[in-house]
């Protein structure tokens, strides 16, 4: 399968005088994979994509496509297709002209181009738009044409640079589904850049999360979600994000380790005691996902915590409870749609200590819970 892997080894991009846009990243996108590059704006994800495309020169490091080092290969010879954020359609050409541009440039015959244009347009449902100019199209239609211009080429991999960010919410979710279907049908590698964590979670086979030009974590969406490598990842994925609280590890009266945050105190599972022993009497960051805070004790291992209701945010299928921890910060909890409580009321909620994450406050990296979960797959 390694035939057309895209491999980045210690790749950096430095803009003069010395702005490090991408800083020594290592990443392998497997042949046929749908890889998401996720991160806030300015994290270097687009620059990384543009280096793969060949539109930006690699300052240092090696870029491979399969076995070939392609640092110095001209973009047109890399056999990659890119879809730009603002589509980059040629405004003076019709849809058919835009789709067939590349083939015309490469000197294909008129009949061949026309057949291929029709085939691609039919696949994307834009066959009836072939005679129109880009300015006569809606955002979603332009997006399809841009996609079509990439699809018509049959490249080794498709590089998508925030292609959905200019669409409205409804269209975005439709196009998301279509891209996933398209990926399944074509079986080609897709590298998709986005700052939208929902897009990343729903589309990606693997997500590569970037920050300040570096890769923070790579993994399958749920894996990254359940085991965030740092507070950045924990806070970036999902909305509302993971609750992050300043806390300490202490030994309780029964000798078990506890994580204490104000008047919240959770005894840690005895299985984790070994991993956390080194952190005894030290500061940590306690991370709890909003959905891991429950109204009722559903497991015997769950421990109660008293909170005061600050606000309720009704989202329809669920309600986000914003609650104050006595002597500590506020937390968000995901409640059922039927949840109701007056503001100011003191409630008892339940947390399973097995669901919590602890982070090192100085490095912000996750503190491994057990020896076997240390294995990261930042490969």
């Amino acid at each position: 399968m390694a035939g057309n892997d895209i491999r980045l080894e210690h790749v950096s991009k430095v803009y003069p005088p010395d702005v490090k846009a991408v800083d020594q990243i290592d990443l392998t996108v497997r042949d046929g994979e749908l890889m998401i590059l996720l991160g806030p704006s300015g994290c270097g994800k687009s620059t990384t994509l543009r280096m793969i495309a060949g539109l930006e020169a690699v300052t240092a490091g090696d870029l491979y496509l399969g076995e070939h080092r392609i640092n110095d290969v001209d973009p047109k010879d890399r056999n990659l297709a890119i879809v730009f954020q603002n589509y980059a359609l040629f405004p003076h050409m019709t849809v058919a002209g835009n789709l067939g541009f590349g083939m015309r440039i490469r000197g294909h015959g008129r009949a061949e181009i026309e057949a291929k244009v029709r085939e691609t347009a039919a696949m994307l449902g834009i066959a009836e738009l072939l005679g129109r100019k880009p300015r006569e199209l809606s955002g979603g239609q332009r997006q399809r044409v841009a996609l079509g211009r990439a699809l018509i080429r049959d490249p080794v991999a498709y590089l998508l640079d925030e292609p959905l960010s200019n669409l409205d919410a409804k269209l975005r979710s439709t196009m998301r589904t279509e891209l996933i279907k398209l990926h399944r049908r074509l079986g080609r590698t897709i590298v998709h850049v986005t700052h939208d964590q929902v897009e990343a979670m729903t589309m990606g086979e693997r997500i590569c999360i970037m920050k300040d030009g570096r890769i923070v974590q790579v993994g399958a969406p749920m894996e990254v979600y359940r085991n965030p490598a740092s507070t950045f990842v924990a806070g970036f994925l999902a909305s509302p994000p993971m609750n992050l609280l300043d806390a300490q590890i202490e030994a309780g009266r029964d000798g078990r380790l506890r994580v204490v945050c104000g008047r919240l105190a959770l005894s840690l599972p005895s299985a984790d005691t070994g991993a956390y022993a080194a952190w005894r009497d030290r500061e940590v960051i306690l991370g709890i996902r909003p959905e891991d805070i429950h109204e009722h004790p559903m497991q015997p291992t769950m421990q109660p915590v008293e909170v005061q209701v600050v606000a309720l945010e009704a989202l329809g299928p669920e309600i986000i409870l914003v609650a104050g921890l006595p002597g500590a910060a506020e937390i968000s909890a995901r409640m059922g749609a039927s949840f109701a409580a007056p503001i100011g009321e003191v409630l008892r909620l339940y947390i399973d200590p097995a669901d919590i994450q602890l982070f090192d406050p100085t490095t912000t990296n996750a503190i491994p819970r057990r020896a076997q979960t240390v294995s990261s797959d930042a490969a």
Binding site: L55, K76, I82, L89, F90, H92, M93, G102, I105
Partner: protein
């Protein structure tokens, strides 16, 4: 008074105030632009000369029919057509080439701009005088420099064959930066993505120029050409200073021909008719330009 009636009253007041504020400039415009045009139009229908400056003898459209029959005027129109065609095309080709080159320049762009804008900032009379000195057959620096490389003296402005192209050359020197500046502004405003898309498709430099740059630049090119065209049709100062339309009629542009009718021939009535013809030509071009710019919006 009901609220429904109150608004128009205020609007009317606003409108009256608006007219009041605009009145001085409207009056000035009428006096310096509309009145001379109307007076010219009126005069063109009379036998009005500087010997007998009265509107006594009405001749109707005679001046117009005479003008169209006049071989000298036909020649002036012909020379003007050639001149306009030559300067617009040459200035466009040179200007676009320079603009394309400057568009890739990263450092010192402002210095280039400054140098380029220099001739454009000069008065045409000054430009004419400078070049007349440069091109003087005996005392001029151009012929001196040519003599250094063994080329004999050229009669730049005295020879009918040379005079026309000499004028074209001086006009290019003077006005080409207009093209450069406008086209460069257009080029630097072009979106980057279509170029990257073309690059990914493997388009060569020439293909990118033909399929991306030219079509994207079309509106800017059209407007630049038309503006330059309109100004070129009216060229006068340079002719007056450098050749006075000569030798013979070699550089006799319409605007200079009109001047001759009026102040050498003293025939104001006929000159007025010719001016109206020139005005109509320029007006037609302007309307076309205006329509075109509207269609872009």
């Amino acid at each position: 008074m009901s609220a429904a009636l109150a608004t128009p009253a205020i609007e009317q007041q606003d409108r009256r105030f608006g007219y009041l504020m605009a009145a001085p400039s409207l009056l000035a415009l009428f006096l310096v632009i509309l009145f001379p045009i109307l007076f010219t139009l009126y005069t063109s229908a009379f036998d009005y000369t500087l010997i007998q400056p009265t509107h006594d003898v009405f001749v109707g459209l005679d001046h117009y029919t005479n003008a169209l029959d006049n071989a000298e005027f036909g020649q002036a129109l012909w020379v003007t057509l050639w001149f306009v065609g030559a300067v617009v095309i040459l200035e466009f080709v040179i200007g676009f080439t320079v603009a394309l080159m400057l568009n890739t320049v990263e450092r010192g762009k402002n210095v280039y701009y400054l140098i380029l804008l220099f001739p454009l900032l000069m008065n045409p009379v000054v430009v004419g005088l400078i070049w007349r000195m440069f091109l003087h057959p005996v005392l001029g620096i151009v012929n001196y420099l040519l003599s250094l490389v063994g080329i004999g003296a050229v009669n730049w402005l005295g020879d009918p064959q040379n005079a026309f192209w000499t004028l074209v050359m001086v006009d290019i020197w003077h006005q080409v930066s207009f093209m450069v500046v406008l086209l460069l502004a257009g080029l630097s405003a072009l979106p980057r993505e279509p170029y990257e898309a073309a690059r990914m498709e493997g388009a060569s430099t020439l293909q990118t120029f033909l399929h991306v740059t030219l079509p994207l630049m079309r509106p800017v090119i059209m407007v630049t050409l038309l503006i330059r065209l309109i100004f070129a049709v009216r060229t006068y100062d340079l002719i007056y200073i450098m050749t006075r339309g000569g030798p013979g009629q070699a550089t006799d542009l319409v605007s200079y021909f009109i001047y001759r009718q009026a102040f050498v021939g003293l025939n104001i009535g006929e000159a007025a008719a010719l001016s109206i013809i020139l005005l109509l030509i320029v007006l037609a071009l302007t309307v076309y330009l205006y329509r075109y710019m509207r269609s872009l919006a």
